[in-house]
């Protein structure tokens, strides 16, 4: 199939305006005749549900959590970018656009990024009017901080809980629509399959996590706002339940999966301490505003951090990248941490971390100021490690955090299945090969509040007067039977190991071979190991309990099964992309200084993979990327 991104013609700054005028609209009185399913209630899902309902559509919202407010957007700490230029430091829509394309290492779709930068300013207005308690200056105006990959201060925040506050804002708007009867909310309901008829999305199959009941839901359009797949690494900063199942089931039904190898390893997480560890905790990137990153110059250093003299400390980011220093983009910061730790300079009992040191900032601004900025993060660090970061430096190390890859979508956010949309982290479109800090919240809300509610009308308008496919149609019966068979199969395997065990083993393979640095032999090894482990999984997993009550092992079984298939595709995509770009670092493709070396001639495209069945590798389709506004250059943060 030819991938048509449907990017409008015309000058970059006018594309979105023009597109909004050109696409089909559904008139206000007719919107109530349409039903839309939104899966996921994080920033993208909750904002989309609220806005679509405000417009008059009938929305059914689904979440596997017990409350929509628990979606993992809640955990985002640092902030949200917007080109407001409130700081008068030269910011503009064009600069945010430029920074995002460059930060993504020239692997994103320019027109989408420009639109994102344009609507970023509306998001802040929207959130403030909902009562999101953003940080303020004494005069009452909004405060900003700076984030990696930018030389302006454009990040809005609410202490270290920006994601929580933005999600509560969107959740509350959605609950208002639940109150109005325009959103029907299904909690503790997990989507286990997408239903299509004649190639178009017409509904979903769900499992009630409390009763085990399998239900069918039909609609004129389906929106997946189901987040990313960072938990394929097992250890990640994602919440325990984050998974790829909804997106992966859609992929198996015909939605192309784009750039799965583009994963973000966040530089500032608390290092792993032992095998029992279930997840890694992020320390917000905002800490890099005041914390200085260093390791001892000597590999055999045994002194405590405070007693190592200045001259014997290696502030590797400040030395290598004087212009951006500790605020280089995430991929650069992560890779450099790996380099110094691999070279034997690591700190901590397992020598698996680097220092993030606030001693200078405390000396300069006082303890109170630092406490005001990061108090809750410091408390969190102390709880987890038992160490006081006001007196000893934090220890940090990179961990899986975000996935830039996802379902391929066109400019309207529609996947390759007509009627199926993907929003937020679940799609691939805006961050290229590396996402800048504070841009995930921006994109999730942009998609949900300001993009999807307009673009979805284009595919709905021609359906005026037609009812959704009834749930007693054979396509629903067939999909229900498939879902039930899979659940029955899990419970019948009766093997010897828990899904947790297999997930952990899968994570080790993925981290080792498809992590911060990748090479051909490692990727080939990963493919064969993942395939072998997947086969073992289906023979040897042990799921106890039943299907008729809450059963977290059974839930996990399906999610891990899908992670196996996704992990394999990640490796294939990484192997196929024989260049380095952003978070995808192929050791075979680097500059003399060890920086990522792109190959624009051969890889300036999106790789979108088509499912061919479990035993046949996916087929790759290309969307060529054209760069009209931002000239392709070697990224430099020196």
């Amino acid at each position: 199939m030819l991938l048509n991104s449907k990017v409008p013609t015309g000058p970059m700054a006018e594309k979105w305006e023009k597109h909004k005028f050109d696409i089909k609209l559904v008139n206000p009185a007719n919107k109530r005749k349409f039903k839309i399913i939104v899966v996921g209630t994080g920033l993208a899902g909750a904002s989309a549900s609220a806005t679509l309902a405000e417009l008059g559509y009938n929305v059914s919202a689904f979440t596997f959590h017990d409350s929509p407010r628990r979606a993992h957007s809640i955990a985002a700490q640092g902030g949200i970018n917007a080109a407001k230029n409130y700081q008068n430091d030269g910011d503009s829509v064009h600069r945010l656009f430029y920074d995002t394309v460059k930060g993504g290492d020239y692997r994103s779709r320019e027109a989408n990024v420009h639109r994102l930068a344009e609507v970023s300013v509306n998001i802040i207005d929207q959130a403030a009017s909902q009562g999101v308690p953003f940080a303020r200056e004494y005069g009452g105006l909004l405060a900003n901080r700076s984030f990696g990959g930018a030389q302006v201060s454009r990040t809005f925040y609410a202490r270290g809980q920006t994601g929580q506050q933005l999600l509560l804002g969107a959740y509350q708007q959605m609950m208002r629509q639940v109150h109005e009867g325009k959103v029907t909310l299904h909690t503790q309901t997990e989507m286990l399959d997408l239903v299509t008829k004649d190639g178009e999305a017409c509904g979903i199959i769900c499992r009630d996590l409390i009763t085990g009941e399998i239900t069918s839901h039909s609609a004129h359009a389906v929106v997946l706002a189901t987040g990313g797949y960072g938990n394929v690494f097992y250890l990640s900063t994602n919440a325990m339940a984050c998974n790829t199942t909804a997106a992966w089931r859609a992929h198996r039904k015909g939605a192309y999966f784009a750039n799965p190898s583009y994963t973000q390893i966040h530089p500032t997480c608390i290092p792993a301490s032992d095998e029992f560890q279930s997840k890694l905790t992020l320390m917000s990137e905002s800490l890099r505003n005041d914390g200085r990153i260093w390791v001892p110059r000597s590999k055999d250093e045994t002194r405590s951090a405070g007693s190592i003299p200045e001259a014997e400390r290696y502030y590797y980011l400040e030395e290598k990248y004087p212009a951006f220093g500790n605020l280089v983009p995430r991929d650069v910061a992560s890779r450099n941490a790996k380099t110094v730790v691999d070279a034997g300079h690591g700190v901590g009992p397992l020598k698996n971390g680097v220092y993030l040191d606030f001693a200078d900032a405390i000396k300069r601004d006082g303890r109170d100021a630092i406490e005001g900025r990061y108090g809750n993060l410091f408390d969190m660090y102390e709880r987890i490690t038992g160490e006081d970061p006001y007196s000893v430096p934090m220890r940090i190390y990179p961990a899986s955090h975000y996935t830039m890859g996802g379902l391929w979508v066109d400019y309207n956010l529609m996947t390759t299945i007509p009627g199926l949309y993907a929003a937020g982290e679940a799609n691939f479109s805006d961050h290229g090969a590396n996402r800048l800090g504070a841009s995930a919240l921006m994109q999730g809300l942009a998609d949900g509040y300001f993009v999807l509610p307009y673009t979805i009308g284009d595919s709905l308008a021609p359906k005026l007067g037609s009812d959704p496919v009834p749930t007693d149609d054979p396509v629903f019966k067939e999909a229900t039977a498939d879902v039930e068979d899979r659940l029955t199969r899990f419970l019948a395997i009766g093997g010897s190991r828990s899904p947790e065990y297999f997930h952990r083993e899968l994570g080790k393979i993925v981290w080792e071979n498809i992590g911060m640095a990748r090479n051909r032999s490692g990727l080939e090894k990963a493919i064969s190991e993942i395939t072998a482990l997947r086969e073992e999984y289906w023979q040897d997993v042990r799921i106890l309990g039943n299907n008729e009550s809450l059963n977290q092992s059974l839930e996990k079984a399906g999610r891990v099964a899908d992670f196996f298939e996704l992990g394999e595709l990640m490796a294939r995509d990484a192997l196929d992309r024989n260049e380095s770009c952003g978070g995808h670092f192929r050791e075979e493709s680097q500059t003399d200084e060890g920086e990522a070396l792109r190959d624009d001639e051969n890889y300036s495209h999106v790789s979108a993979w088509e499912w061919n069945g479990i035993d046949t590798p996916q087929t790759k389709h290309k969307e060529e990327l054209a760069f009209e506004e931002v000239p392709l250059t070697q990224r430099s943060y020196k």
Partner: protein, 257 residues
């Protein structure tokens, strides 16, 4: 280096909402003290699965104290003995070798047990649904800096907005009252200039919805002790004040029915 602990756990097991539950004893041996409380339960569950016993269902997700999913009674206290700490952030270094730990689900009539340690907290969403929002349809907002908000007002609102909706306040309350949760949401919105238009209507609707599900507040203050975000009791006083004002006269002044 980390130490290990040997513990005796008494855990509430209950197959479903209508089943009769009971305490079961488990030995948890060689638990590293760097593990979190939930990781300790993970280790117990892995060994149960290994011995072909159905694992314990417990609520959890983000494991960094922000999603509000987790929460159990630990030795009779919601989220355990540490102040300002959600269950997921409680670490085993706070316990001693040889301890017996009693683990129960949240105890409140409004939160029926779903299974084992998991309860149904949907009444909290009902309270928000009743009015826990500012009516601000997408696209209608003026520029964010058009309405300056004094820093201390924004900070006070944020103190209340920090609530994670875990329900520990209800579980800790001898009356199973929902005042701390409800008042935190009210103060988050009622203290801001944007929240004034619907202030009294919001207060009445949320308070009256709360009263359909939860018990009465008698100012014990147990809620605040249990709250992982240390939400202030002052918000309850503010809520009561607004509710009184609304009932007496101010809502009419504000032009609300």
């Amino acid at each position: 280096m980390s130490q290990t602990l040997n513990l005796t756990l008494k855990i509430w097991r209950q197959e479903g909402p209508n089943a009769k539950g009971s305490f079961e004893s488990y030995q948890a041996n060689n638990i590293p003290d760097d593990a979190s409380f939930l990781e300790m339960l993970d280790i117990v569950n892995e060994s149960l699965i290994e011995n072909n016993q159905v694992p314990i269902e417990f609520p959890h997700d983000c494991r960094e104290g922000i999603c509000g999913t987790c929460g159990v009674m630990i030795n009779g206290r919601a989220h355990g003995q540490e102040i300002g700490t959600a269950t997921c952030q409680l670490h085993m270094r706070k316990f001693n070798d040889g301890d017996t730990i009693v683990i129960e689900p949240w105890r409140a009539a409004a939160f029926p047990v779903v299974k084992d340690l998991v309860v149904d907290r949907s009444p909290l969403d009902k309270i928000v649904e009743a009015g826990g929002y500012i009516t601000a349809p997408t696209g209608s907002a003026p520029d964010a800096n058009e309405m300056p908000i004094p820093k201390d007002v924004a900070e006070s609102s944020m103190d209340a907005a920090a609530c994670i909706g875990c329900g520990a306040c209800v579980a800790a309350c001898p009356n199973s009252a929902g005042q701390l949760f409800t008042s935190a949401k009210l103060w988050h919105l009622n203290s801001l200039p944007q929240g004034q238009a619907e202030r009294y209507k919001r207060t009445e609707e949320m308070v009256e919805t709360m009263e359909q599900y939860f018990g009465s507040c008698t100012n014990h203050g147990e809620c605040k002790e249990a709250c992982p975000k240390e939400i202030s009791l002052d918000f309850i006083a503010e809520m009561n004040k607004d509710y009184m004002k609304s009932k007496v006269k101010n809502r009419k002044k504000a032009g609300q029915k």
